[in-house]
Symmetry: C2
Subunit: 151 residues, 2 copies
């Protein structure tokens, strides 16, 4: 079976929130109750409305394999360039260790190239050594500190 890549639809939302909630860090901060917390629905609608945001889902047959969110951002820096920011990367636990993460990233990088981006960037929690190794293997360089301030 071939992997299929598409934009998330509102029908996917429960599965996506479940996937986010099953993650070790996500389990501490997400709300997997059904019916969904309305904040997820509002966020999904805002993503869908914004042409510079894309919530990508990856399927094998009819099963959800993974997800990530892309944001395309125009910047003055680097001679006026578009950058691709990736966040919320998850591979379903049933589908790990099979190279699907790499394939999902290859697809995301092809979308970034089509948009004319010169840089793809992301931050990865220092508590996720496996993710950090994964991004290094893909050729990402940890040249920056990733700072967060909770409001």
């Amino acid at each position: 079976m071939e992997l299929k890549y598409r934009s998330a639809k509102s029908e996917d939302l429960e599965s996506l929130v479940t996937l986010l909630s099953k993650d070790p860090l996500g389990s501490q901060r997400e709300d997997s109750t059904i019916p969904l917390n309305s904040a997820y629905i509002a966020a999904f609608e805002a993503i869908e409305r914004d042409p510079n945001n894309e919530l990508l889902v990856v399927e094998l047959g009819s099963s959800l394999v993974g997800m990530l969110q892309i944001t395309f951002i125009p910047y003055l820096t680097h001679k006026g360039s578009w950058r691709c920011l990736i966040e919320g990367v998850r591979i379903h636990s049933d589908y790990r260790g099979q190279g699907f993460g790499e394939k999902m990233f290859e697809h995301a990088i092809s979308l970034a190239k089509n948009k004319g981006c010169t840089i793809v960037q992301l931050t990865s929690d220092k508590q996720r050594p496996d993710a950090i190794r994964f991004y290094e293997k893909l050729g990402f360089k940890a040249t920056h500190e990733g700072f967060k301030l909770t409001l």
Copy 2:
């Protein structure tokens, strides 16, 4: 004199590119020739068109003190939330060491709160120890690795 905060206008563009070019890292990657490289103009227009991007300039009287770019991003993660990403932060060399950077950030953080953001995030090049200390002093936590992939 009071600091003034406003969105960048097309008339600011030459000064902003000059400010980006005078930075140690920027000098290696920006193009400060006048007339401006058209890529800067295209990037500025894309930022201006996007309601989720804001190029902020800070002035003292009629002098440019600093700049930064804000991107507001809706995410499913953290229970469906808006996040504020900050990039391209510069204070003019004539105005350093006077607390203007802190004030510019206070203003940016107030914009993030008005938008309902729960997290402000940014990445800082590990080659900029002064910037890293500055963000730590503001309360930012370097919990993440900041990865970049050049396309």
